[in-house]
């Protein structure tokens, strides 16, 4: 598009090209510059690239080797020989990290029973040590997020505001799927956000860090580790312990749906029987 370029300027450019060096000289110059650039790039790479990564078969730690044995038995058919994934069956595990493995395998979601909208929580197939070994293996071959060590909740004696802050963060980030009471909720096409009542602090932290199944990832730059600990504090100290009053039954905290069910199953049923009884006495 040159319509806004003045005619004189266009002419000058044209003129300068006309007086450029000959074709042979231009080609020679380009070749020299190419060789120099390649030599520079190669030299810089050789100078800076760490030798360890150049090794093809990095030795696995003992735990990871145990994990690899488990992986080759139970995971390989869907996630592939080197966890690179199998088209149509399972995604690659390169980069998911041990946090993801510990969540998915530790809660029994993996290995999946069958291919469906979402893996369900069930009795884990592997014990705690085996889960750690699998996690170590996936961590060593592909890297990725890891669970931090230390306590994953805030101490409410020292930091009492953490509970309210965690509640606020929970309502902003979590309730739209897991619902206000952590009872879980439906997503589209058979997917769902599970109930949080059985979740441990490690599981909640790992879920936020890795975004398992249909959950989005809440990385450390979105929700800081401290905020994650506050949310976990709210879930484990407030929601799971069912501290709030209001009767013996909280009706699952599914909101007005179960309340509406209760008024018919309990209220109307009791009163219709009372009416039958009273009208029967004459």
């Amino acid at each position: 598009m040159t319509s806004d370029t003045p005619a004189g300027r266009r002419l000058r450019v044209f003129n300068r090209r006309r007086s450029a060096p000959s074709r042979a000289r231009r080609r020679f110059g380009a070749a020299v510059r190419m060789v120099a650039a390649l030599a520079l790039a190669g030299g810089v790479y050789t100078a800076f690239a760490p030798g360890a990564l150049a090794e093809d078969n990095r030795p696995l730690s003992a735990a990871a080797q145990e994990g690899k044995a488990l992986f080759d038995n139970s995971c390989i058919s869907c996630h592939g020989r080197n966890a690179e994934g199998v088209e149509g069956r399972g995604p690659t595990l390169i980069g998911v990290g041990s946090a993801s493995v510990e969540f998915q395998v530790g809660t029994g979601r993996m290995p999946m029973t069958r291919q469906e909208a979402q893996a369900e929580r069930k009795t884990p197939q592997f014990n705690q040590d085996q889960v750690k070994q699998l996690g170590q293996y996936v961590q060593e071959i592909g890297g990725g997020p890891q669970l931090p060590s230390g306590s994953l909740t805030e101490d409410l004696k020292q930091n009492p505001e953490a509970l309210a802050r965690g509640g606020e963060l929970f309502r902003i980030n979590c309730t739209s799927c897991h619902s206000f009471g952590g009872a879980g909720g439906a997503l589209s096409s058979g997917k769902y956000a599970p109930s949080l009542h059985g979740a441990t602090e490690q599981e909640i932290y790992a879920a936020m860090l890795t975004g398992p199944q249909n959950m989005p990832v809440f990385g450390d730059n979105e929700i800081t580790p401290e905020q994650k600990r506050e949310i976990i504090t709210y879930v484990t100290q407030q929601l799971q312990q069912d501290k709030d009053p209001g009767g013996l039954f909280n009706l699952g905290r599914y909101g007005p749906v179960t309340e509406g069910l209760a008024i018919f199953l309990v209220g109307i049923t009791l009163l219709v029987f009372a009416a039958l009884w009273i009208a029967g006495k004459s």
């Binding site: 206000f180 439906a186 769902y192 009767g247 219709v272 009273i278």
Partner: protein, 539 residues
């Protein structure tokens, strides 16, 4: 001075005489206290609504003593640690204080909410009774229309009350209400702006809903309930057909003492059940919803059950938007059809049903005797159709919770609701009509041939037949003379004819012999067992 003897026994009589001499109330009171009410359990369903309304008034007055209907922002410093330091409106703060710090406050709040759910539930159940028994027919058409208006007022009372605590769920409901108003063509924006005092949510809505919830709507409810009951008194209660009952009398119990005592007892029962619900079942845990923020919407955000049918219709409505290219362009969003047109039609068209039915059947007489559902198959079918529609719409209002808890795809639930809403009501109509006709047929069969005895007789030619006990007189050959169809219970089993032990046992066994045992007017006294011939094998 002479000491006069104090005669305690004459005090009530003397007092009554004194009152009557001054106020002349004996004659009207005698009429009132001797007024006769027919007795049947289904006539007590409306009373549940009346009594829960009384509980609503009482508990509501308690709540107003502590509630602050203001949207002023305050920082919470109360007893509930998981919200301490959070910015919230004074309305939400006072609701929390009411729940956690006022003695008995949470119980009263839960009582108020459960009573509201029960009020609406009993209105619907009572309405079903009135509809399916034809109690709305002339001269009671107006009372039927008032009943529908009461449902609508209760709906509004419930919605305004749901909005008052200003928690996350309330605000989400208000947001939807605002969206529904905005969806109305031409006037929508003005309507929403005038109700919310500008842009949603504004700072006025809680105060406005408060006055509507504690004064205007309950005033309307109270007035309509008074007219509703006044009309029942004036027009007298309907009764089931039965011995001695005609279209021009009322058979039952006198208002005083028996009926009044029963009603008093039933009020206590209703009160007790509401207390039981309030004490045992948590309802609307507002502290978990948090203060309302437009960006925080929890999953499973539903209205209370009596608004859920509207929510369900909105969820099922396909995304059909109508663009009208006039001026800058008008848009009728899909929300308009289920939420405005749907709600309007579902609450006004039923009001006119009594007149529609009278016109269709050309029956303009007064009816004081009820019909059993089977004796008006088309009306029963229509009612089954309407309730199927209502139930599907209501279930669809909670379809995300159902989908999640029963592991069904939410998309499948939505489509099941869409298809079900079109297909199931006509199916319900067909089934209900067929069932009604079948039941009628069976009644007529028993009237013509008698009740089955369970005794099998072998005829000389080897044929086996069952012996039937005729309900009425027989002709010369021993065949029962056909009896008229009376539209009331036909005894179909031998124990209903007094041949065996009473069918009603245990707790529900009547203390005395019921005045109106469910027997047909045409039932003859049945002969005792010893008069019958012994059945042998025939050898």
């Amino acid at each position: 001075m002479k000491r006069r003897k104090f005669d305690l026994a004459s005090v009530p009589g003397k007092t009554a005489k004194g009152v009557d001499e001054r106020l002349q109330v004996a004659t009207p009171l005698r009429g009132l206290l001797n007024k006769v009410f027919p007795d049947h359990w289904s006539f007590l369903l409306g009373e549940i609504a009346l009594f829960s309304f009384i509980v609503l008034l009482l508990s509501g007055v308690f709540l107003t003593l502590f509630f602050d209907p203001s949207m002023k922002e305050v920082a919470y410093e109360g007893a509930y640690p998981a919200l301490r330091g959070t910015e919230m409106s004074a309305a939400y703060e006072s609701s929390l204080r009411l729940s956690f710090e006022v003695r008995g406050g949470l119980f009263m709040r839960q009582m108020h909410h459960w009573a509201a759910l029960l009020f609406m539930a009993s209105i619907v159940v009572h309405m079903a009774r009135v509809f399916f028994t034809g109690a709305f027919r002339k001269p009671r058409e107006a009372n039927w229309a008032i009943g529908i208006a009461l449902f609508l007022l209760g709906f509004l009372a419930g919605f305004t009350g749901y909005s008052l605590p200003d928690d996350g769920l309330s605000g989400t409901g208000l947001r939807i209400a605002s969206a529904i108003m905005l969806s109305i063509p031409v006037v929508g924006t003005w309507l929403s702006a005038s109700i919310f005092g500008g842009e949603f949510p504004g700072e006025l809505i809680i105060g406005r809903f408060y006055i509507a919830h504690v004064l205007l709507i309950p005033g309307g409810l109270l007035a309509l309930i008074s007219v509703h009951l006044g009309l029942v008194f004036k027009q007298k209660h309907t009764q089931w057909p039965g011995p001695g009952r005609t279209n021009s009398n009322v058979v039952g119990e006198r208002m005083f003492p028996r009926y009044a005592l029963k009603q008093g007892g039933f009020f206590m029962t209703v009160f007790g059940v509401i207390c039981l619900l309030a004490g045992l079942f948590q309802i609307n845990p507002i502290w978990l919803f948090g203060p309302y923020r437009a960006s925080e919407v929890s999953s499973a955000s539903q209205p209370d059950w009596y608004v859920m049918f509207m929510d369900g219709l909105v969820r099922l409505m396909p995304a059909w938007q109508i663009d009208i290219p006039i001026g800058d362009g008008y848009v009728i969003p899909p929300l308009f059809w289920p939420a405005v047109v749907g709600l309007g039609a579902l609450t006004t068209v039923p009001m006119f049903y009594p007149w529609i039915e009278a016109r269709r059947t050309k029956d303009y007489r007064s009816h004081h005797i009820l019909q059993r559902p089977r004796d008006a198959p088309e009306r029963t079918g229509l009612g089954a159709m309407a309730f199927t529609f209502f139930v599907i719409a209501t279930l669809s209002g909670g379809n995300d919770v159902i989908a999640d808890k029963f592991h069904i795809s939410l998309n499948a639930m939505t489509w099941a609701g869409r298809i079900g809403l079109v297909i199931l009501p006509p199916l319900a109509y067909y089934l209900a009509v067929r069932i009604c006709l079948g039941l009628q047929q069976h009644d007529r069969e028993v009237l013509a041939h008698g009740a089955e005895t369970g005794i099998i007789k072998r005829l000389p030619n080897g044929q086996f037949v069952e012996v039937h006990q005729p309900l009425g007189p027989v002709d010369d050959h021993g065949h029962p003379l056909p009896l008229d169809y009376a539209g009331w219970v036909v005894p179909k089993k031998m124990n209903r004819l007094g041949a065996l032990a009473p069918a009603v046992k245990g707790f529900f066994f009547p203390v005395e012999k019921p005045v109106e045992a469910p027997v047909s007017p045409a039932v003859p006294p049945v002969a005792g067992r010893d008069q019958r011939e012994e059945i042998t094998s025939g050898r």
